[in-house]
């Protein structure tokens, strides 16, 4: 079951059991973005407070598997209080982590290319790439956040 333990690292289960930044923000002023994973039924709603180019607050509701829940919880911790530029960088780094093909992982499970340090505890999600079907679970929150930023821009 070593693969499985790679997927379900303790920190992931922790975020799953005690999700951070759970809840809603009054909208407006907060921006509200919905995300679906049509294939497995995961749903997420992300609330964003953006002021002067800074993501001052973020809250999440929705339901999904441990991977999607943990990923969104970890994401919220990682981006809250960051400048939009930093948020975008985080999104890019995380997506890179998720597109590193499983075969380019080293024996010990470390991605060769993605810059893990910049990801902090999010790096724990790297085991997901060995389970291609689950990648969409891990990226749902991130795609929804990204969508929110785009919407913001076009308003």
């Amino acid at each position: 079951m070593s693969n499985l333990e790679d997927l379900y690292r303790e920190i992931i289960l922790d975020h799953y059991r005690s999700p951070r930044n759970r809840g809603e923000l009054p909208s407006p002023p907060a921006q509200r973005v919905e995300g679906f994973n049509p294939l497995c039924g995961d749903e997420i709603v992300v609330y964003l407070n953006i002021e002067d180019g800074v993501l001052t607050d973020i809250k999440l509701t929705g339901q999904g598997c441990s991977i999607s829940q943990a990923s969104s919880s970890m994401m919220s911790s990682a981006v809250k209080g960051k400048s939009l530029e930093q948020v975008r960088d985080a999104i890019t780094s995380f997506k890179q982590l998720m597109t590193v093909h499983a075969s380019t992982l080293q024996e010990n499970g470390q991605p060769v290319e993605a810059d893990l340090r910049s990801l902090g505890e999010l790096a724990a999600l790297q085991g997901v790439v060995k389970f291609p079907v689950r990648i969409k679970c891990a990226t749902l929150a991130w795609n929804t956040l990204s969508q929110g930023l785009d919407d913001q821009l076009s308003n």
């Binding site: 997927l7 294939l39 497995c40 441990s66 829940q69 689950r134």
Partner: protein, 411 residues
């Protein structure tokens, strides 16, 4: 009756020899797609090796053979469901979903107008919902839903009111989430009583027991080969010849026309009107082989076998997991098929399925393309276990053992 033995069936299924994560495969996803026996696979291989040619269009030997094989499959399919008008009533589509689109976009488009009602149920698969929503957008029809009771049955207590202005009742014979088998004949009587027609989603029911469209007194039937030990890429749409011949064309192209001029076209008659372009020929051959194979097993035998598996599974889930795992579906085998949806306390379906996979157990987590039903029960996903003629009680053994692991891991 007595000759049916699932162990013999298993020997015919190459995929059951597969090893997954060091475990023999435990395939419990027949509700999503079934495993074809060797004879089905070989029928298609032989077709490609010996007689592949385009149908209906040439006089040479292999083309006649291909045409005979294709039309022969239509005939076998017609007999399988006891189509009163025979092969002339059987249209080959690409899947159940296309069959419902054909129904909505051809028959529905021609016969339903502003204010007309199509009556579905809350337990329908998206295949029998979305085409009606599309028609609603274009035609202003009303789409109404028969509610589902807390016992996971259709709530027919207000059927009379629900039938008001209904022109078509379209329901599933068997829910792909709950396992519930609906009272099709009763619904047919009620529909016809108000002058409505009735369409049946046979995707789940077709492989699990006998289907007789005359006996059921229905007007339309849709199902897919891949859920009845057949190949992907082919589905069936059946309706009575009188209705079929009145339906306007749907997809346009070669094969479905009698004539094409620069200023217009004349559609062909019969099933070919709805089979535009090169049809799924090898797939029809595979479907024909699957029909023969199922008939060899005996649909009543399969029904009885799956009922035993379901009874056993329901009992053992109750014994071993009461309070930790909830069955989303009827808790007995009366009017119930071999689909058992589980809600595992505190563990998301996706995670359960992932752990099960480590034991070689194949189940399906998700909304099973029945989101309205999931919402009805406040669920976002279930773990669905589904059996086939090749399933054994031992499959349930492995399932339950793996389920213990999943529950512990996330507990």
């Amino acid at each position: 009756m007595t000759s049916f033995d699932p162990h013999f069936v298993r020997r015919d299924i190459p995929l059951l020899e597969r090893v997954i994560n060091d475990h023999a495969i435990t395939y419990l996803d027949s509700g999503a797609t079934s495993l074809p026996p060797r004879c089905v696979i070989e029928a298609m291989t032989r077709y490609y090796e010996l007689r592949h040619a385009n149908v209906h269009r040439s006089v040479f030997q292999t083309a006649s053979e291909a045409t005979a094989a294709y039309e022969g499959a239509r005939d076998l399919t017609a007999r399988f469901i006891n189509a009163p008008g025979g092969a002339e009533e059987v249209v080959f589509t690409k899947n159940t979903t296309e069959s419902f689109n054909l129904l909505a976009k051809s028959w529905g488009w021609a016969n339903l107008h502003d204010g007309d009602v199509v009556l579905l149920s809350e337990m329908e698969h998206h295949a029998n919902i979305v085409p009606w929503f599309q028609l609603r957008e274009e035609r202003g029809i009303e789409v109404r839903f028969i509610p589902v009771t807390d016992e996971y049955r259709l709530d027919l207590s207000h059927l009379d009111e629900l039938l008001n202005n209904v022109k078509l009742v379209s329901v599933t014979a068997m829910s792909n989430v709950l396992g519930t088998i609906n009272p099709v004949r009763e619904l047919a009587v009620a529909a016809h009583g108000v002058g409505a027609l009735i369409a049946i989603d046979g995707a789940q029911s077709i492989a699990h027991g006998p289907t007789d469209v005359v006996d059921l007194d229905i007007d339309f039937l849709a199902f897919s080969a891949h859920k009845m030990l057949g190949p992907t890429g082919i589905g069936v749409f059946w309706t009575r010849a009188e209705l079929l011949n009145e339906m306007p064309p749907f997809l346009g192209g070669g094969g479905m026309i009698a004539d094409v001029r620069l200023d217009g076209y004349t559609p062909a008659n019969g099933p070919t009107r709805f089979e535009a372009g090169t049809p799924p020929i090898a797939e029809a051959v595979g479907l024909g082989a699957a029909v023969r194979y199922l008939q060899g097993l005996g649909m009543a035998n399969i029904d009885a076998h799956e009922e035993n598996l379901t009874r056993d599974a329901l009992q053992r889930l109750e014994d071993q997991f009461a309070g930790r795992v909830r069955v989303i579906g009827p808790n007995n085998v009366v009017n119930r098929g071999a689909v058992v949806s589980l809600d595992v306390e505190g563990v998301h379906a996706h995670d359960v399925a992932q752990v099960l996979d480590q034991f070689g157990v194949c189940v399906r987590p998700g909304h099973h393309c029945a989101k309205p039903l999931m919402r009805r029960f406040g669920l976002s996903a279930t773990v669905r276990v589904s059996y086939g003629p090749y399933s054994l009680a031992q499959d349930t053994d492995v399932l339950l053992e793996a389920l213990e692991h999943a529950v512990k891991m996330f507990g």
